[in-house]
């Protein structure tokens, strides 16, 4: 029982990242009708916003210390971050320690700008082209973006830690009456789950309770009619692209302490997120969220030893098996609109 609860927790946590990326993906597909294969790269750029802010906060003054030597025997360089000089050692160290949460604020305008440039500069030229063309151009863009990041940051992962006070783990087992250490879960992953619920809630609230959101939803349902009413729906959809980019970006920022960011992390998530969108239903926002959590949980269960013993390798294929089953039995996805992908 404790193992099942543990894997459900795990699945919800994994599902958080899938749901956030898939939410942005399906938002873009639903509004602009574009299959955006560069969406994983936006997640990666978000994570590198955290890396960048950490690097900025660590920009240091350098003083040579003749009492110490470096690896070549020259006087060692002692670095003191400017933030520690300006705000004092303790305050400065705290600012650096909190670089990931601060990076969320740092990333939002950057990601909206990246999304805006991406949409206006490239993707809008492909709205009327077939989906295959859109996939090719956005996939190419994803490769370009990750190579640019690799050029600046290298290929190795870059450690980007959570604030000191959120390191360590919480023992849910003791709380639920199980023995100690039965269900432990890291604080930061719990925060990630709560954060993703907050973002998902905010996106849904924005679409449901604001006039802007209402127009966007109307545009998703019938773009032509909304246009005929004199509303510039294209402009709103461009803004939605920026919002989708920001959602992927902040998901990447908060993910940075979970796995050290590397230039390839977007690609690792991209295929999974597309499966999530397909399983949830192309263009369905609740479907993307539901499928994200569902596939996260299925993936977690598939990596349990007890299941791997009966079905070796199931952890590698469970997501794709589910996608095949859904495509065969319900081509429009769990919550997709009737008729979409069914013709």
């Amino acid at each position: 029982m404790d193992q099942i609860l543990l894997q459900i927790l795990n699945g919800l946590d994994k599902g958080s990242a899938y749901a956030l990326i898939a939410l942005g993906l399906t938002l873009i597909f639903g509004t602009l009708g574009v299959v955006n294969f560069a969406h994983g790269a936006l997640f990666m750029i978000g994570a590198f916003c955290a890396v960048t802010l950490q690097k900025i906060l660590n920009i240091s003054s350098i003083v040579l210390d003749p009492t110490k030597t470096d690896f070549l025997g020259n006087p060692a360089k002692v670095k003191t971050p400017y933030v520690e000089t300006w705000f004092g050692p303790e305050m400065g160290a705290s600012i650096i320690d909190w670089s990931v949460p601060l990076a969320v604020l740092f990333a939002i305008p950057i990601m909206i700008a990246v999304g805006f440039i991406m949409e206006r500069g490239l993707i809008k030229h492909f709205y009327k082209r077939p989906h295959a063309d859109q996939i090719l151009v956005t996939f190419g863009l994803a490769i370009v973006l990750q190579e640019v990041v690799k050029q600046f940051y290298g290929a190795n992962p870059i450690p980007t830690g959570a604030p000191e006070s959120f390191r360590g783990s919480y023992d849910f087992g003791v709380m639920l009456g199980f023995k100690a250490n039965a269900i432990i879960y890291p604080y930061w992953r719990i925060i990630y789950f709560a954060f993703s619920l907050g973002i998902i809630g905010a996106v849904f609230a924005f679409l449901r309770f604001t006039t802007f959101g209402m127009v966007v939803r109307a545009g998703m349902a019938d773009r032509e009619t909304v246009g005929l009413l004199g509303i510039n729906i294209d402009k709103r959809f461009t803004i939605m692209f920026g919002i989708a980019a920001a959602v992927a970006g902040v998901a990447g920022v908060m993910y940075a302490p979970i796995n050290s960011p590397n230039y390839h992390m977007g690609m690792d998530f991209l295929v999974l997120s597309f499966v999530v969108v397909v399983v949830g239903g192309m263009g369905s926002l609740p479907g993307a969220v539901l499928a994200g959590f569902l596939l996260g949980i299925l993936e977690s269960f598939a990596s349990m030893n007890e299941i791997k013993q009966f079905l070796p390798g199931i952890d590698q294929i469970i997501i794709y098996l589910t996608a095949i089953a859904i495509l065969l039995l319900r081509p429009r996805g769990l919550m997709g609109k009737r008729g979409v992908m069914e013709e």
């Binding site: 404790d2 193992q3 543990l6 894997q7 927790l9 795990n10 699945g11 946590d13 994994k14 110490k68 470096d70 690896f71 070549l72 060692a76 690799k150 290298g154 290929a155 190795n156 992962p157 870059i158 450690p159 830690g161 390191r167 360590g168 783990s169 250490n181 039965a182 432990i184 879960y185 890291p186 930061w188 992953r189 302490p257 979970i258 796995n259 050290s260 590397n262 390839h264 992390m265 690792d268 993936e299 977690s300 990596s303 349990m304 030893n305 791997k308 070796p312 390798g313 952890d315 590698q316």
Partner: protein, 452 residues
């Protein structure tokens, strides 16, 4: 049943042949080998010889590949007489004189393995067939090394393996044209197990997470056997797909399994991510079976340890070489590399530099680039001064035997390169094994192939 009749003439012929055989080490030097081994693939011409450096220039190991390339360029510079000579001045063999190899200026071409076997074979093939490379070297994965080694055997060129740690490279998949300077899973385990017993005691229960490919399997089998011999119990071994990025679902059940040690048979990005997950889950803060929970990483790489950040602090592992070694060879190499590039070399850089030097030296001693002559010069070769102490290239499996470093993640690093501290230099005798050891059984070297 054969009919043989001993005659005086036959006795003289046999005696002459036996005498020539006994005298071979001295006879087969200089141009004698070249004359007796006529044609071979990509013989140098116009005073130039081309070497093929096949390293990951893209993909997850691109940084390691870049460091290998730096070391290769440095080695070529030194062989051609440039720079400060690096380890050429400390190398026990003095055959190289800074005029290239056998008077031919060394040039090189590079290929991108992408850490994919098929891409690595394609780039090696291209370097052999189009660029005329007489030797292929490099790589940062055992799967790739084994694939390229097989190709070089077929093509008739020497393969000087880069960073490959699977037992199989010089075990069941060994080839007559392939040579490995890097250590292997068995050696890591043989060096590490006594230190682990000393640090954590004999009564331990280990849970293994293992990368699901050739290196992971042999590393796990080696460390499990070595620690079980010290009294540890292996409670579980879970194979994790190589493409895994989030290890939480594999790490989460560990604490509840009764194990008090987690062995991460992972390398590269897998290691960074699994170790990060294990530390996030607070494993190292827990007590199980009345003991502190501990994590072990059998194969360390400084470049990769950097990716895991402070999570490596206090965690034991092994490494082939480290820049903080104080022998003359290591100091010369670090000085040479550090002056040129501004940071210390990695173990990957060290091993490929050594491989290039060893190849060049073997050609020089053999008097030819003919792969069969070079192989013979490398087989059974004893040398020193290349940073690992006295080293032996075993003839039977083309594996180098040398001291192994047991290291620990440093608690308070003084700079960004100061990530590992050397706990013990395990003597070579402790990590040696018989040629027919069960973990290396199953393959044969076969015949050397000179190609064309």
């Amino acid at each position: 049943m054969s009919n043989s009749k001993l005659t005086r003439r036959g006795l003289i012929k046999t005696g002459a042949a036996a005498g020539a055989g006994l005298a071979m080490p001295t006879l087969f030097t200089g141009n004698v080998w070249a004359a007796s081994h006529g044609g071979y693939t990509n013989a140098p011409s116009n005073g130039k010889v081309t070497l093929g450096f096949n390293v990951p220039q893209s993909g997850p190991y691109a940084d390691e590949g870049a460091d290998e390339l730096r070391a290769y360029e440095l080695a070529v510079e030194h062989i051609n007489g440039g720079g400060d000579g690096g380890m050429m001045s400390t190398f026990s063999s003095k055959a190289l004189d800074g005029t290239g190899i056998l008077g031919n200026k060394v040039e090189f071409v590079t290929g991108d393995t992408q850490t994919k076997s098929d891409a690595a074979r394609a780039s090696a093939k291209s370097m052999i067939e189009k660029d005329g490379a007489v030797m292929i070297t490099g790589g940062s994965s055992s799967g790739v090394a084994i694939a390229v080694q097989g190709l070089c055997q077929e093509a008739g060129v020497i393969f000087m393996a880069g960073l490959t740690h699977s037992n199989d490279t010089t075990g069941k998949d060994k080839k007559a044209n392939g040579f490995r300077h890097f250590f292997n899973g068995y050696m890591s385990a043989a060096a590490l197990a006594p230190v682990l017993e000393k640090m954590y005691g004999a009564d331990r229960k280990a849970y293994h997470l293992t990368a699901d490919y050739t290196w992971g399997w042999t590393q796990q089998a080696s460390i499990a056997a070595a620690t079980e011999a010290k009294g540890w119990e292996t409670v579980n071994n879970v194979l994790t797909p190589l493409a895994t990025t989030d290890f939480s679902s594999y790490v989460a059940p560990v604490l509840n399994s009764g194990a008090d040690i987690l062995v991460l048979n992972h390398y590269g990005g897998n290691m960074v991510n699994s170790l990060t997950a294990a530390v996030q889950f607070g494993l190292r803060d827990k007590q199980v079976n009345g003991k502190n929970f501990e994590i072990v990483v059998p194969l360390y790489s400084r470049l990769m340890a950097k990716g895991a950040g402070e999570n490596v602090a206090g965690i034991f592992g092994s490494t082939n070489w480290h820049w903080s070694l104080t022998d003359e060879g290591s100091k010369a190499f670090v000085k040479s590399f550090g002056t040129k590039y501004g940071f210390p070399p990695s173990q990957a850089a060290h091993t490929v530099y050594c491989q290039t030097m060893l190849y060049a030296d073997a050609c020089q001693r053999a008097g030819t680039h003919n792969p069969c002559a070079v192989a013979e010069a490398l087989e059974g070769f004893d040398f020193d001064g290349l940073g690992n102490g006295p080293t032996h290239y075993r003839a039977e499996d083309h594996q180098c035997f040398k001291d192994v470093l047991v290291v620990k993640g440093k608690e308070n690093p003084e700079n960004e390169f100061d990530l590992l501290e050397i706990v013990e230099v395990t003597p070579r005798a402790q990590v040696e094994y018989a040629v027919d050891h069960e973990m290396f059984a199953g393959g044969t070297l076969g015949e050397c192939n000179p190609g064309a």
